[in-house]
């Protein structure tokens, strides 16, 4: 169906609905306050926006530092072709994280206070500074895509010169803030359920970021090849699947070791409200992907890799939501469920991510190897025609 020259597809309709609801919720957020738009209250000062938009958003954008590190620091040249798409995802992820923060902060107009009234004891301060700096680093890592599109070769050479420094800085900052997101919760051991209240939380947050970085790379490549016919070679996907398999084993064994160390193995198998959430998390994050990836044939099948990576992502998202919400519900004595307006803003931010990603893939040389022959620039078809085709 076509209306006024714009083709109407299922996903375009979904996109418009999400945006309309999101804009309404934005209106409620900034004209009536946090209480009106969310189910957060004095018992639950942190809700879905911190739990998902911030904690998970940053985790899912971790592919940027994982892949650039592998390629530029460890010279895993085979992965060179995916650097651009992961840097794009990371850059979008961090920008959208900041957008999410502007909704969640009670006084977003004072966000710059972070640079003035620094409190060096605060984990939140460290996270804030790292995210600010790393977003800038990602901007420069992403810049060559845009410059190339407009054939500006001199500035590309400048960026190329500082590229190794950018990459090292990026990994350093990522290590710090990915783990620090876990450190945020170290100060409330008394409030958290022992399933998640481990002093090793920063360590697990860092490792799960690596796993999700790999899983997201597989996930988005599969989606892009379906939507735009542009994705990664199967051999690269297989290799990423293999890496994910190893990383998941390492995290899984360390998780078991942590439970044994703290002597709570027994309580894991006793049914309880928290145990159900833990089981869901462990099944999706470890059991399903580890079973799938253990078969060589599955690691070669794009569909199986897609399922394994999706399961990993959902598992670790559940993990972070458990840390931020489920684990504290018993202490607080209330359950928290986000309000629909809260959810709609999260959905809008995700939809904006998908939209920007599809724009970038269409107009910038994202899935083209920079070493290959020069490509014809993509024809400038009206945006509405090209994006969200399916």
């Amino acid at each position: 169906m076509t209306i006024m020259g714009i083709k109407i597809t299922f996903w375009r309709v979904v996109f418009v609905v999400i945006m309309v609801l999101g804009i309404y919720s934005t209106y409620v957020r900034y004209l009536q306050g946090l209480g009106a738009v969310s189910n957060m209250n004095d018992n639950f000062p942190w809700g879905l926006w911190i739990g998902f938009d911030c904690l998970c958003g940053i985790m899912l954008a971790a592919g940027g530092f994982v892949v650039t590190g592998a390629v530029y620091i460890f010279h895993v040249e085979r992965l060179h072709c995916i650097v651009r798409s992961t840097v794009l995802t990371a850059f979008l992820g961090y920008v959208l994280f900041i957008v999410g923060l502007l909704y969640d902060l009670g006084r977003p107009w004072f966000i710059w206070h972070q640079l003035v009234y620094m409190n060096f004891h605060s984990v939140m301060f460290e996270v804030g500074m790292c995210v600010m700096t790393y977003t800038t680093v990602l901007f420069f890592e992403f810049l060559p895509n845009v410059l190339e599109r407009f054939n500006l070769h001199t500035p590309i050479r400048w960026v190329k010169k500082i590229y190794p420094i950018l990459i090292i800085l990026g990994i350093l900052l990522s290590t710090l803030h990915q783990s620090s997101l876990g450190s945020l919760f170290l100060i409330v051991p008394e409030k958290m359920n022992p399933f998640w209240a481990t002093p090793a939380l920063p360590f697990f947050f860092f490792l799960s970021a690596i796993a999700c970085g790999l899983a997201m790379t597989i996930f988005e490549s599969t989606l892009s090849s379906r939507a735009f016919g542009r994705g990664l070679e199967r051999s690269v996907l297989t290799e990423l699947g293999g890496a994910l398999y190893v990383v998941l084993w390492v995290i899984g064994l360390l998780r078991v070791e942590d439970y044994v160390n703290r002597g709570i193995v027994k309580s894991i198998f006793q049914p309880s409200y928290e145990a159900y959430f833990l089981w869901a998390e462990l099944t999706m994050a470890f059991v399903i992907p580890l079973i799938i990836l253990s078969f060589k044939a599955a690691r070669k099948s794009p569909t199986m890799l897609y399922i394994a990576s999706l399961s990993t992502i959902l598992g670790f998202v559940t993990n972070r939501l458990n840390v931020a919400m489920t684990s504290m519900e018993t202490w607080i004595g209330h359950h928290y469920l986000p309000k629909w307006t809260e959810v709609s803003i999260t959905l809008m931010i995700c939809a904006m991510g998908f939209f920007c990603f599809s724009l970038a893939v269409n107009y910038l040389p994202i899935f083209e190897d920079e070493h290959s022959e020069k490509h014809e620039p993509a024809p400038l078809i009206p945006i509405a025609e090209q994006t969200l085709v399916h």
Partner: protein, 256 residues
Amino acid sequence: MSKAILYDATLCIGCKQCEGACAEQNKLPYDDKVAGETIQSEHKYTVVLTQNDRYMRRLCQHCNEPACASVCPVGAFHKTKEGPVVYDVWKCIGCRYCMLACAFSQPKYQWGKLNPRVTKCIMCPDRVQAGKPTACAEACPTGATKFGERDDLIAEAKDRLKQNPGTYVDEIYGLTEVGGTSVFLLSPVPFEDYGLPKLAKIGDKPLPEYTGRVMELMPDFIPLWALILGGVYWVSNRRAEVAEVEAEERALRGEK
């Protein structure tokens, strides 16, 4: 010197004069409806809880090493040398980490406001600095809420426990909790009946130490990790260069 508040539940008659005085001091509305509210909120910094004709006051504990001050990214909270933990609203960005971090769930939020602030008992810092007692202590008709030197109040609380065996649970709440506080509570019934976390649960270690352990690793970790990454980059880059040159040489020899 450091000041403190001692609240003795056996002396309290539940008149809620402290609530009213607190509201007046902080320019908050106070009427029968607010008096009937049994939870602390953005318009009620302190509350007198009633259970079977026994009372318990809840207010900010004013920790010696406050978690709220340690977690705030912009340092909007700080402990003054007189004892009160105070809040600088003009610094606050509204992240609400203080609310999550506080073991006593004292910071509350103005959820309905467009430029909201965190609210909690700040122990009348202006009055304290001027050498006056807090508004609640001044208003208390029975001396259940007493303001004074921290050391004197600890001695007095210990004395009351000793003089009246069996009257109180054998604990001065706030003396060792999370490394000590500036508000001490005495009660004939267990404190957890009023929602106060047990010492066994929150411990006697200051909460900022949990994150401090990680944060103090940073100055060593950052240069070390940067050095390792730089080193690996140099080695693998050098390897690639050498391999390239060798391949070229081999190709040259092959051509000959």
